[in-house]
């Protein structure tokens, strides 16, 4: 007995762990799409079976510390597939088709993703330089109001973006001044920024526009359709009707910021200052000045996301209209591990779950609302270390004192 058993325990497993993890993830993916258009199996049973198998395999993979992330992904996807399949199978086919009109889901998903991309990129730049930015929400809100205000006063959406960004940058400058110059507690200062932004935008909004709200005829940030993209299957119909200029700008900024951070000298310096400010200072880098620029740019980016919300999508301003999007962007920064590409993935995930939540309301408002909590639940799971630890820049949150 022992003789025959020994070789099998010594030998590495027949199938590499990683492949099991990938297989489990694929199974979970199949469990997801089975009940959705265009396949639309009208019973939840196959998805439930696949979901359970994927979760079980994922659990096995989880035990290998090297592949915890993959295992976690498979378990998560597999488990979420089960209620999803149950919900879909219990709905009429027409309802399911209406919610999962893919072109509309993609268009709506991009809408929800855009402000998050700007916010997350802003958050990454600030935190990579070593300044925690809880104030993204407030900076975004500044962009919402001053974007509309600028577009209205200057009769130009472009100047609206500029003025909105300037307002966000100004608030970023305040955060920078308090965090860097006065060495404030950065979380407290960020909290103050959020309160201040709600009050300032609300005050100016009432003082300027009163009860009538922002005028209906404003120069809005336009939609553009890119000629060749129209013809791509699946995605084409969604963006064929035109996608907002700022959505394209946001998507383009992701590789730009990534390239800046990881492939340029300035980006390397920024990261060095966020990790080891003292060492960076020793080799002659200007810690405070760099952080000033980073936090200000952070505020401007978040604010452009806000301009998209008000002047791009809604065409109007409302009190506190960011409604937690700045915090979702912050969550995306953490979820994406302070990397623009990872954060893009997170914003797309969060944006599309918001889009689905919105569309689910057509037949199940309650389910749609629960879906809204998904980004926060996922991020909580992520920071709890279940999907691999995410680690902040080492010096984030610590005031720099020049020796």
């Amino acid at each position: 007995m022992t003789v025959t058993a020994t070789p099998s325990t010594v030998r590495s497993p027949a199938i590499p762990i990683q492949r099991i993890g990938l297989g489990a993830t694929v199974l979970a993916g199949i469990a997801w799409i089975l009940t959705l258009p265009p396949i639309m199996v009208r019973t939840a049973v196959p998805s439930i079976v696949l979901g359970i198998v994927a979760a079980a395999l994922g659990t096995a993979v989880l035990r290998d510390p090297k592949h915890r992330r993959l295992g976690g992904l498979a378990v998560g996807l597999g488990l979420i597939a089960i209620p999803l399949a149950l919900a879909m199978a219990n709905q009429s086919a027409a309802n399911v088709r209406e919610v999962f009109t893919w072109s509309a889901v993609i268009a709506s998903g991009l809408t929800f993703t855009t402000p998050l991309i700007f916010g997350a990129l802003g958050g990454i730049i600030s935190e990579r330089s070593g300044v925690v930015n809880i104030g993204l929400e407030g900076m975004m809100l500044m962009g919402c109001y001053f974007g509309i205000f600028g577009a209205d006063v200057c009769h130009s959406w472009l100047l609206g973006i500029v003025i909105g960004a300037a307002a966000g940058g100004l608030l970023g400058l305040v955060h920078a001044y308090f965090s860097l110059h006065l060495r404030a507690n950065q979380v407290v200062s960020g909290t103050a920024i959020n309160l201040l932004a709600v009050g300032l935008t609300g005050y100016f909004f009432i003082a300027q526009y009163g009860d009538n709200g922002t005028p209906g005829t404003l120069p809005q940030v336009p939609n553009v359709s890119v000629p060749l993209l129209n013809h791509i299957a699946f995605v084409g119909p969604a963006i064929g009707a035109g996608t907002n200029v700022l959505t394209w700008v946001g998507l383009l900024l992701v590789p730009v910021v990534w390239w800046f951070l990881f492939r340029t000298r300035a980006g390397l310096r920024l990261r060095a200052i966020g990790e080891q400010p003292l060492a960076a200072s020793t080799v002659g880098l200007k810690v405070i000045a760099t952080r000033y620029v980073a936090v200000t740019v952070s505020g401007m980016l978040a604010a452009v996301g806000g301009v998209y919300l008000s002047d791009g999508f809604d065409g109007s301003f409302n009190f506190d209209m960011t409604d937690g999007r700045g915090f979702i962007a912050l969550a995306a920064v953490i979820f994406g591990k302070w990397n623009p590409v990872g954060a893009l993935g997170a914003t797309i995930l969060f944006g599309f779950s918001s889009a689905l939540a919105y569309r689910l309301q057509t037949f199940s408002q309650t389910l749609g609302t629960l879906f809204q909590a998904l980004p926060y639940v996922l991020t909580l799971i992520a920071v709890a270390g279940l999907i691999g630890r995410s680690r902040a820049p080492a010096a984030a949150g610590i005031p720099y004192v020049k020796e």
Binding site: N194, V383, A396
Partner: protein, 410 residues
């Protein structure tokens, strides 16, 4: 310590918040001036709206009656603010930043309104106690999650509590929206909870119950403040909490379990926030709508209250009274709209509150204006300097961010 030293410290402790508030009001006044209004008349009208003129003996007649109404309102606003302020302050003392007060308040409110509405014929006192306890326990559980994550996994509580806030808000939205499990059965289509039965209403102690007179909730708040003080200064737990807040490493070396301190502290924070919710919903309105959940700011303002109150029980009470008064004074009901548009004024309140938090986020006033050594109580209460060798406290003082320093990533 001699008592003059104590007094001087107390005076200094009060001086900085006072200067902070004055500066914030001046800045707010500039915004008023900038938008073409008279700041002095505006602040005068806001003061009259707070009902604090009730305390002036020369105010009589009709004005006095109205002032009485307004003062009841101010105290009503202050009651939950005291509790959320305590909730934030308690965490600061152990070196944690509880941004999650809003979420703990939300889950507490859900429990209070649920327990308060499901038993039609329970004994009044028993029902009130049960609803309050349910809210407190739920708040404690919600907060303890963040404490546990920090203690065991090392997740920074700022991030986890922000996430828990929004989860609480959306789950509460789900429960009370049209078709939600706890939505009112008698008002189909209205996104609101069932109504709390009259047996579970907190008794009104001053004013007309139908006109939202002052209820007994203010006593719960004040009792909680006393409990805060006693727990912090007169109990072993409080000693441990202060020790961990002062220096986790030293506390660990002394045999204090950091993990247990974090979880216990956060749970107690959650109790305060849950009580705030109970006081709120059992005192007035007696139901919860999705709109209430979305617009409530009580938990977030608790941060401002705690910071202005320098994380002490008495300071928190006064800070909550100030913000409660400000809220009343700028409300549509109390502010003379001929002088200043109340809608504008409530935004002004937010600006002033934001400025207060911004100013207390740093040692600006203490260091630049008063020439004092940099020292603020982020989990570093002043009394911990007692019993330390003279040099040690000064050496440790200049870093206000110790609370945010330990390993977890933010």
């Amino acid at each position: 310590m001699s008592s003059p030293g104590r007094l001087r410290r107390a005076g200094r402790g009060a001086l900085i918040p006072l200067i902070t508030v004055v500066l914030a009001f001046i800045a707010g006044g500039l915004v008023v001036l900038f938008t073409g209004h008279d700041p002095f008349r505006t602040y005068g009208a806001i003061f009259d709206g707070t009902g604090l003129n009730y305390l002036f003996p020369w105010v009589g007649g009709n004005t006095r009656t109205i002032a009485g109404f307004d003062l009841q309102q101010t105290l009503l606003n202050a009651a939950p603010l005291i509790l959320t302020g305590l909730s934030v302050a308690f965490a600061f003392r152990v070196g944690l930043f509880n941004i999650g007060s809003q979420g703990q308040y939300t889950v507490g409110a859900v429990m209070a309104v649920w327990i308060g509405s499901i038993f039609p014929n329970m004994e009044p006192v028993l029902h009130i106690v049960l609803a309050i306890a349910a809210a407190a326990v739920m708040g404690a559980v919600w907060a303890a999650v963040a404490g546990w994550l920090r203690a065991v996994v090392g997740t920074h509580e700022v991030i986890s509590t922000i996430m828990l806030n929004w989860i609480a808000i959306w789950v509460a939205n789900y429960l009370f929206q049209a078709g939600g499990p706890l939505q009112s059965r008698s008002q189909a289509g209205n996104p609101v909870s069932n109504t709390i039965v009259s047996n579970a209403h907190l008794p009104v102690i001053w004013g007309n119950p139908l006109l939202q007179g002052l209820d007994a909730g203010i006593f719960i708040s004040l009792a909680a403040a006393v409990a805060f003080w006693a727990l912090m200064n007169r109990s072993t737990l409080g000693y441990e909490i202060r020790a961990v807040g002062h220096s986790p490493d030293a506390a660990r070396a002394a045999g204090i379990s950091i993990a247990r301190s974090y979880v216990t502290t956060m749970a107690i924070c959650g109790v305060f926030a849950g009580l705030a919710a109970a006081v709120d919903v059992l005192g007035w309105e007696f139901q919860l709508s999705t709109g209430d959940i979305a617009t409530s700011q009580v938990g977030f303002l608790g941060i401002a209250v705690a910071l202005l109150g320098r994380n002490t029980a008495i300071g928190t009470v006064f800070a909550a009274l100030l913000f409660g008064a400000l809220e009343t004074g700028t409300s549509v009901r109390a502010l003379n709209s001929n002088v200043f548009n109340p809608e504008l004024a409530s935004q002004l309140t937010l600006i002033i509150e934001g400025l207060v938090v911004l100013l207390v986020s740093t040692d600006l006033i203490a260091v630049r204006l008063l020439g004092l050594p940099a020292k603020l109580g982020w989990g570093r209460p002043e009394q911990t300097t007692e019993g330390q060798p003279p040099g040690a406290a000064d050496e440790a003082a200049p870093d206000p961010t110790e609370a945010l320093r330990p390993e977890p990533s933010l």
